[in-house]
């Protein structure tokens, strides 16, 4: 197979109403209409979805692995950001 010249698209599928679209993978297609159809064929063959989004992969701004330390490590020692310091009154069931 030759190297595909079509752009790459990221595919998001919502499995049912009320849930979010979840990233399921990527594919090549010439344009958005073909990308949607390819996504339908590749990612919803077994009734996985009720709605599909396709997004040009080039349009996604991603954090860099090199920035992992500065991006994510500072959160590691800030346990007070977790909502675990509240006393839950007895008898409250649905909190």
């Amino acid at each position: 197979m030759t190297e595909p010249r079509e752009p790459l698209w990221e595919v998001f599928v919502r499995s049912r109403r009320g849930l979010s679209h979840v990233h399921v993978g990527s594919l090549h297609a010439a344009d958005a209409a073909m990308a949607l159809r390819n996504a339908r064929d590749l990612y919803t063959r077994r009734q996985e979805g009720t709605s599909i989004w396709v997004v040009p992969a080039a349009e996604i701004a991603a954090s860099s692995p090199d920035e992992k330390d500065s991006f994510f490590d500072p959160a590691a020692d800030k346990v007070y950001r977790h909502p675990t310091f509240y006393d839950v009154p007895e008898g409250v069931e649905h909190l």
Binding site: R37, D41, R45
Partner: protein
């Protein structure tokens, strides 16, 4: 009645076999899966129709006997679907013609007075709508693409077009089936199918061929030289190992 069911079933079965050839050969991986999906939809249609035909026949045969143990002359598919399809433009041109016809046919057959035919059609009509959509998108992109893709798409359309007419041949069909509302008169589909194809061809900046119909008698069991090879591949396993399961 059985002849009608076999005609529709064999069209789907043989088309499915030709589409299966494309798996691992399509221009992109995504298209491999798309063509496999379409082929499997058609195989499903063929199975339903063959099972129904076998039941009506009441000769102790089942869908597998009809698919794997009939000989060339007993197949009733049109020649359109049996011819080699090793060019992607040809594959899309043929899928456009075939799926447009299938969709018009099954849309009408949902109103068949035969409950089983009506139920099979109700399932097929959604599938064929997608097949037609898939073919339309490709034909438009290739036709209205580069100079090379345009020329190849036009050549493919020219090659397939003469074989379309056999789908509108009513001569094999018992007219009583049309009168009783079980079947759709094949001739009645000529206009809507041609109009549907013409609209896509125009959008694809292609020219509608004006070539005369090919001499095509598949509905009467007379097939092209290519069909025997297709059947050999289709039936080889079941005939070499009767009753094999996996």
């Amino acid at each position: 009645m059985i002849a009608y069911l076999l005609a529709l079933a064999d069209d789907a079965l043989v088309s499915s076999q030709r589409l299966g050839w494309w798996i691992s050969r399509a221009p992109q991986l995504e298209e491999d899966v798309a063509l496999a999906n379409i082929g499997l939809d058609q195989l499903g249609q063929a199975r339903s129709l063959l099972t129904y035909a076998a039941g009506l026949e009441a000769a102790g045969r089942d869908e597998d006997d009809l698919a794997y143990f009939r000989d060339e002359r007993e197949f009733r598919n049109v020649c359109l679907v049996e011819r080699p399809m090793t060019d992607f433009g040809v594959a899309m041109a043929r899928l456009l013609l075939f799926s447009t016809w299938q969709h018009e046919l099954y849309t009408r057959l949902t109103g068949s007075t035969d409950e089983t035919v009506s139920a099979i059609a109700a399932k097929a009509v959604k599938e064929t709508a997608y097949h037609r959509d898939h073919a339309q998108h490709w034909v438009i992109r290739l036709g209205d693409g580069t100079e090379q893709s345009h020329d190849r798409m036009q050549a493919a359309l020219d090659a397939e077009w003469p074989w379309l007419a056999e789908l509108f041949d009513s001569s094999f069909l018992d007219p009583g089936l049309v009168e009783s509302g079980v079947a759709v008169d094949p001739a009645a589909l000529a206009e809507p199918v041609s109009a549907g194809v013409a609209a896509v061809v125009a959008e694809a900046t292609l020219d509608l061929p004006d070539a005369p119909p090919a001499h095509s008698r598949g509905r009467h069991g007379l097939h092209t030289e290519h069909f025997g090879f297709l059947l050999a591949e289709l039936q080889h396993l079941a005939r070499s190992h009767p009753g094999v399961t996996w």
